[in-house]
Amino acid sequence: MGDLSDVKEREDKLQGMGTSLLRKEDAKFIRGQGTYVDDIKLPGMLFGAVVRSPYAHARIKSINKAKALASPGVVAVLTADDLKPVNLHWMPTLGGDVQAVLADKKVCFQMQEVAMVLASDRYAAYDGAALVEVDYEELPVIVDPKKAMAKDAVIIREDIADKKEVGHGPRTHPNHIFTWEAGDKAAADAAFAKAEVTVREEILNPRVHPCPLETCGCVASFNKATGYLTVYMTTQAPHIVRTVLAMLSGIAESKIRVVGGDIGGGFGNKVPVYPGYVVAIVASIVTGLPIKWIESRIDNISTTGFARDYHCVGELAATKDGVVKGLRFTALADHGAFNSHVSATKLPAGLFSICTGSYAIPNAYARVDAVYTNKAPGGVAYRCSLRVTEAVYLIERMMDVLALKVGVDKAEIRRRNFVKSEQFPYTTSFGWTLDSGAYHNALEKVLKAVDYDGLRREQAARRADPKATSLMGIGIATFTEIVGAGPTKVCDILGIGLFDSCEIRVHPTGGVIARLGTMTQGQGHSTTYAQIIATELGLPASDIVVEEGDTDKAPYGAGTWGSRSTPVSGAATAQASRKIKDKAKKIAAHALEVSEGDLEWEIDRFKVKGNPTRAKTMKEICMISHTSNIPAGMEQGLNAVAYYDPPNMTFPFGAYLCVVDVDKFTGEVNVRRFYALDDCGTRINPMIIEGQIHGGLTEAFAVAMGQQIPFDENGNHVGNSLMDYFLPTAMETPKWETDHTVTPCPHHPIGAKGVAESPHVGGIPCFSNAVIDAFSHLGVTHMDMPHTAYRVWQTLGKLGVNQR
């Protein structure tokens, strides 16, 4: 016992942190045995089909249900008037506003929910929905957010026209939602006034949609006899949803059970509470029957959870050598017709103030003005923390703009401005304390791996070659993310702090069940949390069961979004494990008749120091803890629960490099190489991390190269099916090269930072920087996403590059 090979063998057996343990969740999915919400069938269940508005802005003059009610299989048709008696025709939003559950006298965006038809099955419900007759009177439409606050602009939200504020400070126009400011404007202005060089660029983050492969939906089941409401739903935050439902319905929260089940991808789309869920719940309460509501794909893209739509202006002030002295970033935010933007209460523009990025910028100011338009509500964080993609995109683009202006290489300008390793923890001019980082190291590793100098030489040769048929671009992004919301003093939703939780029960024979307040949507929680416990407790990951998403079983938590699972619940998991381990040590000392100080931990056991043959394995202690052979006064069992309130956010970072070739004649962009180095602190499961990075990069590629939700001047969607909305196939998707450094988080129990959003946040500016770099010798400083062949071809045409 205790020799090195034995220790190694025992450690390998645990399959704890650092091993690429194959995923426990795969067994059901590869057999088609997942339980997604649309797989749930309850006796007597009705299907609800939503009747939606064809207009972006119109008054509802009348609704005639007669033909629909006469249609075979139709049981009921619900409108706002039917929800009024239970006061559920409007609902509060996560953004401090209210939203119509079913349109109340007017519609404010195309595809808005007007009625729900309940019928015996899906076909009958949609037949009925087609027969609901709604008489509309069209109103003028606001599509362009820049026109929303014009003097003569039509008032979109008559219901709150007189309200001086909607949750986030004074409003200056009926279509104004809030103005948020951060940083020191006077100091930033002073830096600009005396700057040797300034740059300014208008940069759009277009409206996009997370578009998980499974749309949103629910099965609501109210039991009239017991008064219990069970809701199976596609939610990334089941506990928060339960609280919202209790507030909305008046049902005691103890009588509401929300079950997440298996979720077919979320990416932010499944955080909010949508009207469809609420109508299904009301319908179940009224009828006493289970009600299923499942979005179609077009419903999903059109109405639930868009992201971005930030119309930004970036300004940097710098020395002639490119050292940044001041930053001013502003954004006009199009929030659509209701402010159901997902944000923590005190952070209406989310974490946009991370926009100083990886750079030491002494003077900074940011401002976001949010307005209503006649578009779907939302503003979810699409595979990122709240508004972090917008912030990182802006700073990473602006560093390139500055590099061009001062004539400094794009890698070099980053080196000159990075926060240095010895400066951590580093407090930014917006007040965030970056926990740890090694930015120079990460960038140099990438530059070396791709032979950056060689690439620049190749680019110069290409540019000098009059016969070249393509332009070559090299994009760099050296991003810092802010994830793991978050410290409850800073972050709350509806007053609930964004702590998270883990409850662990250890059984007599050493099996473990852990329950958490998070909600996996493909991230592999069943595997990674088990690995944390395996290492902490010395029990094999194979015998550790992880359960999430059923609010009757799991302790309270804020769910999985904003890369918060590992930073927050992962920490709670380690802490709950350590409580158990502390107790186990006392039991071991008692059983071995030594003092606790005489014991030392080794992989899976407590050993008596200096006498390695005397030891108690954790498995033995599990059994002993259930007997009378425990210290006097101690309770039996090995259970613990931990609620973790993080002392700080975590700040994963990375250095990405992308090489593209742009066809001069078609505008097609070929991603020749993409090299991604991520530093997420301690790595729990390298295989899963790599998988998350592949996925995040692919979603970044989608956003940068093709995604956009466009509208015509009447507020009509012109691209809300998968025919038009770009989801890359295996053919378009580039090959990814991944790499890593490890800079542990100093305030997290296991040093982990979270990873899955980094590739999305860092990837988007990297693609854009690569495409724009291909044009930089032609005087181009910026091109808005998405870089579709058509749009790039238009730029080529304007520049005359496409002439043979």
Partner: protein, 164 residues
């Protein structure tokens, strides 16, 4: 109520009969009437491939096939890949190569990959990417799916599995 039609086919090797309306799509028959919830609905417009099943030796998207078209056919869904308690090589490979995350595209992806390897037992990476281009995945970025198909191809070549 509309006219109902009797339709019979072999589903994962078992004789199956069902009554459907003429307009009923195969994906609904499988999921709602025959308790085969492996195939999923992602778009209902034939773009995403989550509903992919094997119909008479061809990959089809069951959201755009009428059930009445399947009379007399042989159908294979993800539920039919495992034989005698042994996973098909393609299922095993998806697990080993981390070719799935949320699992929603997986049944369609597996069924498609199964047929692809029947059509071309030794595909190049480009042929795999082309061969699964009708199946969208939002989680994996496809790289590990491609690896899984390559790995399954190797295993099948070494020890040919019995046809499902």
């Amino acid at each position: 109520m509309a006219n109902m039609h009797d339709v019979s086919f072999k589903l994962n090797g078992k004789n199956t009969s069902v009554k459907v309306e003429a307009r009923e799509l195969l994906i609904y028959t499988l999921r709602e009437k025959l308790a085969h919830t492996g195939p999923h609905i992602g778009c209902e417009t034939s773009h995403c491939g989550a509903c992919t099943v094997d119909l008479d030796g061809m990959s089809v998207k069951s959201c755009t096939v009428l059930t009445v078209q399947c009379d007399g056919s042989e159908l294979l869904t993800v539920e039919g890949l495992e034989q005698g308690g042994v996973l098909h090589a393609i299922q095993q490979a998806f697990h080993e190569e981390h070719g799935l995350q949320c699992g929603y595209c997986t049944p369609g992806m597996l069924t498609r990959a199964y047929r692809l390897l029947k059509e071309n037992p030794n595909p190049s990476e480009q042929e795999i990417r082309y061969g699964i281009a009708g199946n969208l995945c939002r989680c994996t970025g496809y790289q590990n799916i491609v690896k899984a198909v390559q790995s399954a191809a190797k295993k099948l070549a070494a020890a040919p599995a019995t046809a499902a």
